[in-house]
Amino acid sequence: MELLKLVIGPAIFGFILGFLVQRSRFCMTGAIRDYILFGIDRNLKMVLIVIGICTFAFTLILTISPPGIDRPLGPGTFGPTMQPAGWFSIVGGIIFGIGMAIAGGCVTSTYSRIGEGSINYLTTGICMPLGIIMGSFVWKALVLPIGQKTTFMPGTGLETPYGLIWAAPFPSMPQLGNALLDIPPIFIGIPLAAIYLLWYYRLEKNA
């Protein structure tokens, strides 16, 4: 079972995704960059379809899945993915965004192009771990001193040191901490998915 969980399952998903991403030329950087700079919306349309379908499906799964049930192959129970939030999310997003635009590909397309035999993207792939090592020093030297003085959303009961919050968007996900919205996830999922897919439809119609 451990072999299935740790090796076979991830390997199958990784292989299928690698194949699909290469064959369909899926690129997140391209989605943002090409649309802003050149008005090319092919990748943006792809991203909107994926986000639209996944928003609906993920919020539905989070709504109907009973608490405390383990995922068949995964780590832990059905629950939302934990992602820390705070001012550093925006700063980190900007740093990451500049990096992926300069390198010409996000994490996905970088590893996809390594599979295609690109030495440039292999260089990017090797530099990422080096960046992580540098980043951990930057974090300690720069972020921690600032972070200790800041809080995010003060006065709401959600604030913690370093401006870090572990706020769950919905009350059915109590494992993350306080909830922001007192409604089942699918109530947000349906309108959001509709917005993404409508945006896709408009782009497709105007093409």
Binding site: S24, R33, F58, T59, A85, F88, V107
Partner: protein, 166 residues
């Protein structure tokens, strides 16, 4: 048309997007949401352990709080990442797109871009895939903030790239 020829055909972007979504939904139910950062961080940690520097690194990194998780559960993601590269390789090979390619003029960009992505990964504790195709689809607060940063960052980066390339 044989299976090999059919697989070698480029996939239409709409079909590709729907297929990727379906895989992601199955993956979300059976395994976990799609993200690669944990795998990259796990690999980094293993590399440093090999050099005997991991204690120094964990001391530095654990100060960020959410770095402690790297030691656990990163293995499966690293396997996923490895087979992702293999899947792309097979796809490129059967469609005749595989080839060792080097563009020496843009190598500095590859290095700087990779380093910045690594630094950003420490801040957002995931990658762009984990943000857009995983957390954002679950209405996560962190994902919305990170996504806003990513759009701004990509715009700045694209402008820098455009200026450099003329």
């Amino acid at each position: 048309m044989g299976i090999k020829e059919r697989l070698a055909e480029p996939i239409d972007y709409r079909v590709g997007a729907v297929l990727i979504s379906l895989v992601l939904v199955v993956m979300f139910v059976l395994y976990r949401g799609w993200a690669f950062a944990t795998g990259i961080r796990w690999t980094t940690y293993q590399f440093l352990s090999f050099l005997g520097l991991e204690s120094y690194f964990t001391e530095q990194a654990s100060a960020s709080g959410f770095w402690i998780a790297v030691k656990f559960g990163g293995y499966a993601v690293a396997v996923c990442l490895l087979f992702f590269i293999l899947g792309s390789f097979v796809a490129a090979k059967i469609s005749g797109e595989f080839g060792i390619k080097v563009d020496k003029a843009t190598l500095p960009e590859s290095v700087i871009g990779g380093l910045l992505m690594g630094i950003g990964m420490v801040f957002i504790s995931t990658c762009n895939i984990g943000t857009f195709l995983n957390s954002l689809c679950q209405f996560s607060v962190g994902a919305w903030l990170t996504a806003a940063g990513l759009v701004v960052g990509t715009y700045i980066g694209a402008k820098i790239y455009e200026k450099r390339m003329g």
